[in-house]
């Protein structure tokens, strides 16, 4: 039997502190891309009890995703955004999770991302990452943007860092490892980068109680 909403809230407040949990519960984050980065960022935010999570992806689950993405074998062929929503709701049943199966473009980003104060870039292709970052920084200079850049290969996980580029733009990753050079994408190293992204998002949400 699933515990009640009140039981969840009490457990989260006990673990995180009531003030921090209040901030997590009130927060709203959009995750652009529900692959290796996005599905792991989303899982961390859902477990932390972030109250409003919006997922955007145009793709479907493929067997090649299962080495690092938060999907199950029986979900192959299903749309990622909706399927991740289902999976996150099993983890954290009382948060508000919405999903949109759409490809983000420079044309639709200004409309589709407008409602969200915190934007997580979790794409896989370099030119698409650049497109989203440029579009968001041009249209929404007041929003927080957290991007993942460089988590391929088998180098030490210690190479992955969080860098503050401007006051509201953070870059997580090793900055150099490129899947286009034939490097592998391995579960743990991708999850480290995603955990960097999720950590800075949670720190931003809690900024009045945590000093950055």
């Amino acid at each position: 039997m699933i515990p009640t909403k009140e039981a969840f809230e009490k457990a989260l407040a006990a673990r995180h502190g009531a003030q921090l949990q209040e901030r997590f519960s009130a927060a709203s984050v959009v995750i652009c891309g529900a692959g290796g980065l996005g599905s792991n960022v989303a899982l961390s935010l859902a477990r932390a009890g972030v109250g409003n999570i919006h997922l955007i992806d145009f793709d479907t689950v493929d067997i090649s995703n299962l080495n690092r993405q938060q999907y199950l074998p029986e979900q192959i062929g299903k749309p990622k955004a909706d399927t991740l929503r289902e999976n996150l709701l099993r983890v954290s049943p009382y948060i508000n999770i919405t999903s949109h199966n759409v490809k983000l473009t420079a044309e639709n980003i200004p409309e589709l991302l407008a409602p969200y104060p915190i934007i997580c870039e979790a794409f896989d292709k370099a030119d698409q990452k650049a497109m989203l970052v440029n579009t968001v920084l041009e249209h929404f200079p007041d929003k927080y943007l957290i991007s993942g850049n460089g988590m391929a290969g088998t180098d030490s996980a210690n190479m992955i860092t969080t860098r503050r580029i401007t006051s509201r733009f953070y870059l997580c990753g090793d900055g150099v490892s490129n899947v286009d050079d034939g490097l592998p994408l391995i579960s743990a190293r991708v999850a480290v980068c995603a955990a960097h992204q999720a950590t800075i998002i949670l720190r931003i949400i809690g900024e009045e109680t945590l000093s950055l």
């Binding site: 891309g33 692959g35 290796g36 980065l37 996005g38 979790a122 794409f123 896989d124 292709k125 370099a126 030119d127 990452k129 650049a130 970052v133 440029n134 920084l137 041009e138 200079p141 991007s147 993942g148 850049n149 460089g150 988590m151 391929a152 580029i165 401007t166 006051s167 733009f169 870059l171 990753g173 900055g175 150099v176 490892s177 490129n178 899947v179 286009d180 490097l183 994408l185 991708v190």
Partner: protein, 64 residues
């Protein structure tokens, strides 16, 4: 002097598009900030870097 990714360089007066070409960056996979503000891609050919500017070139790689 123009500071590029933390290093002082003598690129005063150069356009952003020229700088990217000179340093070997692909324009379609970068984001360029000058003094903490994004340089729109539409301005790469006209935006001139001046003495005292601090530029950050973020070059994106594949994987996610």
């Amino acid at each position: 002097m123009v500071k590029i990714n933390g290093k002082e360089t003598a690129h005063d007066g150069i356009k952003v598009s020229q700088l990217l070409e000179k340093l070997g960056y692909k324009p379609q996979s970068v984001a360029v900030e000058c003094n903490e503000e994004i340089v729109p891609k539409s301005q790469y050919d006209t935006f001139t870097l001046n003495d005292g500017d601090s530029v950050e070139i973020v070059s994106f790689v594949g994987g996610g």
